[in-house]
Symmetry: C2
Subunit: 515 residues, 2 copies
């Protein structure tokens, strides 16, 4: 591997082919990750937060957490001072929090295009697309199992989406590729079709190792040893259970100094108590244990406080999205993350709707707004999520991605300097006048207001003549246009070849598996 990596790095530095690729590439605009200039919404007071924190310590000490089929993890915990009974780890009060202290409060995830590297933590918000759906949908072809062609299309759309900072991970599940090989094609797509930062595989520790190796081909081995170039999603089996697959992947990434989101996966009322304070307690206990474990593997490894939380419809048992209870938990978990000094992952353009219709719009906007104000630092599922996460929607991808522009502008806060105060404009226009032509408006109108690039702002008559199109129809046209305009970002052909070689070699080395 290191040979290829060195070759890749060298070629990127100076090859004529690389320079030629660079010159001919079409560039798409990508906004810088969001840096908030507005406060967070502090839902809970200190007293409530302290109760939840004390209860989480009680959970860790008295109830404990299970590290399943993972003797090495149990040994690490015993060594650190926890009481281990069978697979149950009882963590003395304060120990997990103390271990978490070595995790950085902010870190850089590098992209192969340095202009697209992101800062995760602090006042920043990084937006990444939907993760995990086995199905895709578009208006023309309906709902169907996702393929690698769909996967590549979503990576392309993500690359071209101005307000999206991150290429994500499993933007849909390429079900036409064997289970044990699809991570290779997914990584190859992120690495070659986009130059935004991306996520690694977590479905088996060996696939996490493949992710690290492929990253070394792309970035060079030395660079990956010294820098974080992947952020991957480690789900906790709530309640209070850490399985060996996810922990195995975490161990690979932490050891390689690559970032992991430690994320309880909670449908409230099923995997956590039906009350908000109870859910927050369990979320905090789980994150404390998971982050502490990452620091036992490698102190200083970059990790993120995750919280994927939905409520449940007690009539049908279906998970529900964009609900007030999810908002409460998202706000509260953000406060807990900040008190712990960790970057915070939550939110997304969540909805339960089967179609990119009004329900999808309400639920997604509810979720996006709360995530911004909750202080989220890394937002997975920021676009494309449909049907409770079962479906990646082409149309909703571009609809959500457009709405992400509102978060950028909201986060800018209010300009309060002389230009912002606009007293000269008020003097110039006076009672009964209008501002359209005044000097201040002329000087500011281009940047004053956020403008959607896909919603309908036309006069009724024009809109009607043009076919009275709804949002889904407009979005479908935008998808087609974007995929038609797509051009891959420049990549050194030698690196491209090395990546393809790695994938081909790995695929040839074992038989296909479909389960």
């Amino acid at each position: 591997m290191s040979e290829e990596a060195v070759r890749g790095r060298r070629a990127r530095g100076g090859g004529g082919a690389a320079r030629r690729a660079e010159r001919t590439a079409v560039h798409f605009e990508t906004a810088r990750y969001i840096t908030r200039n507005i406060p967070d919404f502090e839902l809970l007071n200190d007293e409530a937060l302290e109760i939840i924190e004390a209860n989480a310590e009680t959970v860790l000490e008295e109830i404990g957490v299970n590290f399943v089929e993972n003797p090495a993890a149990l040994a690490r915990w015993r060594e650190a001072g926890a009481e281990v009974r069978g697979e149950r780890v009882h963590i003395p009060r304060g120990l997990a929090r103390k271990l978490c202290a070595t995790a950085p409060s902010q870190f850089t995830q590098h992209a192969r295009n340095p202009a697209r590297s992101v800062e995760i933590g602090g006042r920043n918000l990084v937006l990444a697309p939907v993760y995990g759906p086995p199905f895709v949908r578009d208006a023309e072809r309906g709902r169907r199992y996702a393929t690698i062609e769909d996967f590549r299309n979503f990576v392309k759309l993500g690359y071209m989406s101005k307000w999206l900072h991150h290429s994500g991970g499993t933007v849909c599940e390429p079900t036409d590729i064997p289970v044990n090989k699809r991570h290779l094609d997914m990584l190859l797509a992120h690495m070659t079709l986009s130059d935004k930062p991306f996520m690694g595989s977590v479905t088996e520790p060996v696939r996490a190792a493949d992710s690290v190796e492929m990253a070394k081909v792309l970035f060079g081995a030395d660079f990956v040893d010294a820098n974080t170039v992947m952020t991957s999603l480690i789900n906790i089996n709530s309640p209070l259970t850490f399985d060996s697959t996810m922990m195995g992947a975490l161990e690979v990434y932490a050891a390689a100094n690559q970032a992991a989101i430690i994320s309880p996966f909670i449908v409230g009322g099923a995997m956590a108590p039906v009350t908000v304070a109870g859910t927050l307690t369990q979320v905090l206990a789980e994150v404390l244990a998971g982050v502490a474990y990452s620091q036992l593997v490698r102190p200083g490894a970059p990790v993120i406080f995750g919280a994927f939380v939905t409520s449940i419809d007690m009539n049908s048992g279906a998970p529900t999205f964009g609900t007030p209870e999810a908002a409460h938990i998202t706000y509260g978990a953000g406060q807990l993350a900040r008190r712990l000094g960790l970057p915070y992952r939550s939110g997304g353009a969540f909805c339960g709707s089967k179609l990119p219709d009004a329900q999808a719009g309400y639920e997604s906007a509810n979720s996006l707004n709360m995530a911004l104000l909750a202080g989220v630092n890394f937002m997975l599922h920021a676009c494309g999520w449909l049907e409770g996460g079962l479906v990646s929607s082409y149309e909703k991808f571009v609809m959500d991605a457009d709405q992400l522009g509102t978060l950028h502008h909201l986060a800018q806060g209010i300009q309060i300097d002389t230009n912002g105060q606009a007293m000269d404009a008020i003097r110039e226009v006076g009672p009964g006048g209008h501002y359209l032509g005044c000097a201040h408006t002329q000087a500011n109108f281009k940047t004053a207001f956020w403008r959607s690039e896909m919603l309908d702002y036309k006069p009724f008559e024009t809109w009607d003549e043009e076919g009275a199109r709804d949002t889904q129809t407009l979005a479908g046209r935008r998808v087609a246009k974007m995929l038609g305009d797509y051009q891959a970002p420049a990549l050194d052909p030698a690196v491209n070849d090395a990546l393809n070689d790695y994938v081909a070699r790995k695929k040839a080395s074992e038989p296909d598996a479909f389960l």
Copy 2:
């Protein structure tokens, strides 16, 4: 009038007909107005707020405001210590704010059903439907001019909407009734088809006077003299202009101790500066002048700090909704209103979309969420708004009205007592278990999660078999069901007759006018 009023009051107290009407009526559940148990979102810091307040005083003193064709207003201002030049009123620094101090920070608006009276101000939020559209739309019949039949339908839907506290005012413009008479039919509908609080007419001072007279028939003259039974919408002609029609209506209401919303009507970049701080300055100056004027008419008259603000699409000139700039202004104006000690009106289910589609969902949810966190006390347009306010949408009315439930639950905040903490549940379930059957879940599941009454939560297969309906289609069915189920709230037949008499008499007293 007083004769009828006394008769109405007496009959409501004890008439057999009234009791019979009461017994046979179907009751629809209405939620109590929202009382926030969550903080407000404080976007601006004190320094920025002080700059805006100082600038607003400069605007009032140096630039001044116009009170057009209203010699009595100019006399009142002169008397109060302002400098009047022509129709321009220059208000010395601090005077307007001082005059505002007699306005109550909270007041009760009584409904004829006392259980539906609302508290406006403080930590409360009262939700009222869309106001003003000349068109209506439904999926079946499309977009068309509104009629009195539509008007009555919307009043009925409002009466039956659980999360809506207020019947509103011009829920659509009944264009089939002469301009000079339609206020009578609108008031009659609110008074007889609903028992929620309502708004009075503002289109001419004599129509405001009719509103007060009809309220006296409904509530009894003594009751109306002593209590607030209407809240009406007084728009300011931004920038900085107070026309005689609106001021005439304000004078009628303030003199009768009836409430008025003093509301700048601003499309940013046209009627106010293109920057947020500049717009907030103008809004504050306009509200200070308008509220101060109401207190010159009658110290202590109940008024609301209003802010209707949208941004503009600089490409097409169309107003835009659910935008970040509107959110900034809504948050900031809330802070200014609280510092002034006045109830605050803003927000709504705003959208520019022509259809109740995803755009409508995103934009409306953006607006509704910000209004809750901005501390709004009275939200007009909380449901039914479509196409920039040109259209009252049947489907969107019930879609929005359903979403208003999320605001109720969000505002409850987080229960942090022993039941909320749920430690017994976490102990009972333990690592790897699930919460669906545990005692705590059983005890709490009915109230734990907000549940939509109209969105789709079904499994994909069921949804697909049932016709793969989108939100608009589900909403259309809900509209039909509600209008089919509608039954008028009980009303003393004598009062009903007196109201109809008043309308008939007034209509006969002058010729129809259509402009």
